[in-house]
């Protein structure tokens, strides 16, 4: 489980780590918009250089980024195949056995690859440098103004933080039940199809039962301590915006503006 890179927080001490999570989320939002500005390859080049330097400032190692991108490799192969079969524009690159591959198929795939890679790098720059709990605090703050329209900002943030809190617990529980069932002769790797279904069932049912149990216990514990979602409460951890945050946001906006100019004016 420890080899999952996508969305994982990496505790380091860097300028990016110290930025205000709210500002980071806003910046990520603008950067994601920037990915969709049709500025062509030069635009992606600029954006790419920017993101890579952000990741380097955050002291993240680049092979961590590559690992985060691994899950999309399969999707890209699939995409390439579809594109090669469907796209019949551009000039002929090569043909074999009477089957021709056109240049646009490759270009389109590369285009989407860049886009996806940039998006993953942008989100990784956020999630790898921000503690999950800080993220939820920031989400709560950012959703705050929407409370007026009935958006349960605090409840959403609480749900996210509880979910995050229980991920390691559930992983541990899963491993425990797997071992217990292995002792009863369950074999998750070998066996016929029907046996495998049984094996998965023997894992999922106990996991569900104990999750519901846990949820109920937690709800009781929270109620016993008088938890009221709508109550006004102070926070132990105060988020603070500093000059650095504004500079960061300014740079991001400048980049976005530049890309838009590049796309529509030049």
């Amino acid at each position: 489980m420890s080899n999952i890179a996508l969305g994982r927080y990496i505790p380091l001490d860097s300028l990016i780590h110290k930025l205000d999570p709210r500002m980071k989320i806003i910046a990520m939002f603008f950067l994601l918009i920037a990915v969709f500005v049709p500025a062509g390859y030069p635009g992606y080049g600029v954006l790419g250089v920017f993101i890579v330097s952000v990741l380097l400032i955050a002291k993240l190692r680049l092979n961590f980024i590559f690992r985060a991108m691994k899950p999309m490799a399969f999707m890209l192969v699939f995409l390439l195949m579809i594109n090669v079969l469907v796209l019949r524009t551009g000039y002929v690159l090569f043909s074999f056995y009477g089957f021709t591959v056109y240049s646009d198929a490759i270009y389109q795939t590369l285009y989407i690859t860049f886009r996806l890679a940039l998006m993953i790098m942008i989100t990784t720059a956020l999630t790898a440098t921000t503690k999950p709990l800080d993220l939820t605090l920031a989400i709560e703050d950012l959703l705050g103004p929407l409370k007026r329209f009935g958006v349960p900002a605090h409840e959403i943030a609480m749900m996210i933080s509880i979910a995050l809190r229980f991920i390691p617990t559930l992983i541990e529980e899963t491993q425990r039940i797997m071992k217990a069932q292995a002792s009863r002769g369950v074999d998750l790797k070998e066996g016929k199809f029907k046996e495998k279904i049984m094996a998965i069932l023997s894992l999922i049912v106990p996991l569900f039962v104990s999750s519901f149990q846990r949820a109920e216990d937690l709800a009781d514990a929270m109620e016993a301590r008088g938890y009221v979602p709508s109550a006004t409460r102070t926070r132990y951890k105060q988020l603070k915006r500093t000059l650095k945050d504004y500079i960061m946001l300014f740079v991001v906006l400048l980049l976005l503006g530049g890309l838009i100019t590049l796309a529509f004016v030049v």
């Binding site: 425990r176 039940i177 069932q181 369950v186 790797k189």
Partner: protein, 284 residues
């Protein structure tokens, strides 16, 4: 000796910052046909040790000998399944592993996995349910509707139905009331005496060690500190003190009596014999 650890080491998450050596060159031989208690503080490697017995964990270094099979780190998991038929491992809070619709089906699940026929599995399930003290009339109920103690007995029946030669239990009485844990321990004694199972119990309860076990293994900091008979163990006051072990009430009471000048014969370990011995002294 059919169960033996030879210089067994086990490291969790090797090669990462979270790397943790849970067992350090453990040498240990378990006597067959006896009840052996495995005790030691939390984090001393007890659970890691017992998970080697049915090859849920394979030693990082050294080898484990279980019933004429040698397990090293090089063994393929596929070859190890047959071992689990001979060594039944009951985890802590085993009631969380129940998942079938009925009690009977759940108990049958283990034997069926090991290739026992449907009929035979059913027969075994009914038998083991009786052995663990579950009324066969609830065999068709959902295991999730039963009480905690009943669930635990059913989970143990689920392992017993596989008919292992060796039964390993990780803190089987945790969370049970005194009456429940007493009858649970009596069940294990019965399994040992009547069905000739070799039983290993991980426990924190010294009263249980004294009253129900033959041998005792003390783990500390990933090492096996001592391994001897329960009788010798509780007579070695210096060692008990060194290991910071809470002496069972009966023995402490006897000790206090001895300090006060009433020395009783050696080998008294249960309350009734002690009471009789004292009564014998008091009466003229």
């Amino acid at each position: 000796m059919p169960i033996a650890f030879e210089k067994v080491s086990y490291t969790y998450a090797p090669g990462t910052p979270f790397s943790y050596a849970a067992l350090k060159e453990v040498d240990l031989a378990i006597e067959m046909g006896k009840i052996t208690a495995i005790i030691g503080p939390t984090g001393s490697g007890k659970s890691t040790l017992v998970q080697h017995l049915n090859a849920l964990l394979q030693p990082s270094d050294g080898q484990v000998l279980v019933l004429d099979r040698i397990i090293t780190h090089a063994d393929k998991p596929k070859q190890l399944k047959s071992l689990r038929k001979n060594v039944g491992l009951v985890f802590q809070f085993p009631e969380y592993q129940l998942f079938e619709e009925t009690v009977l089906k759940d108990v049958m699940f283990g034997p069926l996995n090991f290739g026992v026929s449907e009929e035979e599995a059913k027969k075994r399930a009914m038998e083991t349910l009786t052995v663990v003290g579950i009324d066969p009339s609830i065999a068709e109920k959902s295991p999730l509707d039963l009480s905690g103690g009943q669930k635990r007995r059913i989970a143990i029946a689920g392992i017993l139905a596989i008919d292992p030669k060796v039964l390993v239990l990780d803190e089987p009485t945790a969370g049970l009331d005194p009456q429940g844990s007493k009858s649970m321990m009596q069940l294990f004694t019965q399994l040992n005496r009547q069905y000739e199972k070799t039983v290993l119990i991980v426990t924190h309860d010294m009263e249980h060690v004294l009253n129900y076990c033959d041998n005792v293994v003390v783990m500390q900091d990933g090492k096996c500190v001592t391994h001897q008979t329960v009788k010798e163990f509780f007579n070695d006051g210096k060692l008990l003190h060194e290991l910071n072990i809470k002496v069972p009430n009966v023995l402490r009471f006897k000790e206090s009596l001895a300090k006060g000048g009433m020395s009783l014969p050696e080998g008294i370990s249960d309350l009734q014999t002690l009471a009789k011995a004292i009564a014998g002294r008091i009466k003229p």
